[in-house]
Point group: C2
Chain length 343, copies 2
Amino acid sequence: MTAPVALDGFGADGGPGLVLEGARLAAADGIPVRIFGPPAQLGDPAEGVEVVASQEWISNDEEPVAAVRGKPGASVVMAAAEAAAGRSEALVSAGSTGATMTAALFAMKRLRGVQRPALAAQVPLPPDGARTLLFLDVGANVEVRPQHLIQFAHLGAAFSEAVLGVDAPKVALLSVGEEAKKGTPDVAEAHEALAGSAEIVFAGNVEGTELLSGAADVVVTDGFTGNVALKLMEGTARAVADGVRGAARSNPMAMAGGALLRPALGSLRRTMDPNAVGGAILLGLRGIAVVAHGGSSPEGIANAIRLAHRSVGERAAERMEQRLRAAGADRRHLEDRLGNDPT
Amino acid sequence: MTAPVALDGFGADGGPGLVLEGARLAAADGIPVRIFGPPAQLGDPAEGVEVVASQEWISNDEEPVAAVRGKPGASVVMAAAEAAAGRSEALVSAGSTGATMTAALFAMKRLRGVQRPALAAQVPLPPDGARTLLFLDVGANVEVRPQHLIQFAHLGAAFSEAVLGVDAPKVALLSVGEEAKKGTPDVAEAHEALAGSAEIVFAGNVEGTELLSGAADVVVTDGFTGNVALKLMEGTARAVADGVRGAARSNPMAMAGGALLRPALGSLRRTMDPNAVGGAILLGLRGIAVVAHGGSSPEGIANAIRLAHRSVGERAAERMEQRLRAAGADRRHLEDRLGNDPT
């Protein structure tokens, strides 16, 4: 029998009851779930859902490292320890992103050769979300060096291939122009290394305008830019959608038009729904950790559990570790080249 | 009589003829324009539009500093020199952003106290674009230090007040969380200085989700993040709008709905139209330089000319220089505080 997925019962905006709903949906698919949280609120689980009591949790306002160290009984810390020990196969939490990343990093440790784990989000691509973009780092590292961007490229490519089923994924760097030298010196250095990589199908730089164009399967950036960009896509999409909704309320003719158009907007709505993709995944650890959206629906929680389970089944961590040997080779190649070339 | 606006006749996607159309629209409002470009294509100007012959231009593919130095007869270089000498009141170009910034910087010089000029874009805010957000730096400096972010805050506040007519503009920093410490160490340091500033109405950090919320009148970031963010808003808005359009073509009922809804979408379309705001403005120079969108319509060119003319009329450069004294004080205040506090 498969080990269950360890699920943090706290932290979702909808509370432990909603998290339990999500666990039930995943368990109904045959994925066993062990949920860490308040038994009183998780009273009556379902077939395949087991409750482990935890009364403590870590909020968004707490400093993650201090909180994880200081609260061994917090739900996310217990769930991470359980996943690291192999009693559960993976960690899923809709709580504080910082606390989840920290708990996972402390408990699971990094893959051999990984300097910085990165948080990768799946962004559904137009027109219908049938393809997703793997976008990283969306917040694990606010500052990075070129070698980290190179590692992110390999981590992302390995995950895209293993779990998202993309054959020879195209990897791009986010920058301010398409030319190789555009961007910060760090981005230009990473560009040069990736352009010379034998293992990466490198699509060059993409600009903000083209991020959603589908030109790349994996787009790599630092965690500051990536976090801002991910949230900005959400904010902009919401603003435009609100604008359309507002227009459809502005007069009787527009209201009639909106009512007729509404059914056809279903696939666009689903494309823009963060619940569809489950959550962001922390790449570079000796285990699988998924950070679900705080505002997840039960279906969003279930999709995060499904993503974690699929990642384990596809041996994502092992395949990333294999890939990282290539990243080391790229880095050394670049160092040799720069060392031999005094310009 | 007012000095004319110096307009680069080359560089717009629509060619010199389109630029001339824009000049005519502005001239019809009583703003005289001197356009630098190929006389054959600018043959028959209108009342208030004068043509100065230039056959050379700088493309997006050229390295800006080398090109500006190497081509004194290029249209944008001639126009910048003219504006710097006071024979024209301001520079407007829809050509290469890098070349326009470089030509303006070389010819006009920086305001006293400015270390790095910044490119500021006006982003129309939902629901109807009646308010705009001043967002900088959107590409002049891919790497900045805290003191530059502080200067950008003062430059943006001064411009917002002087030209956009915002009383006591609220200024925010773009970051990955609202808390003062969130973001890179440089962002956190700038946050601290701005929070202690007597001259800035500081709204704290904004995240990507809230950039378009209207919580701030001016949002400050580095030129890498700002450039990516500005283009990403454009790309995301386009993707959502394409999605709505696609839905409205998907079946007969949706087509009828789209047709009924279309008139009401006019204000949203205008809000999302980059031509409405004219262009980005280079802040921190002893003169006014406006970079129009390469894909500008004639109305977009005219709006860029109007923005430049209004900026001159409101003495934007002088008012920015006054503000910069306050920026210097903020920086010294921070240094003193950090110097006195060994933590």
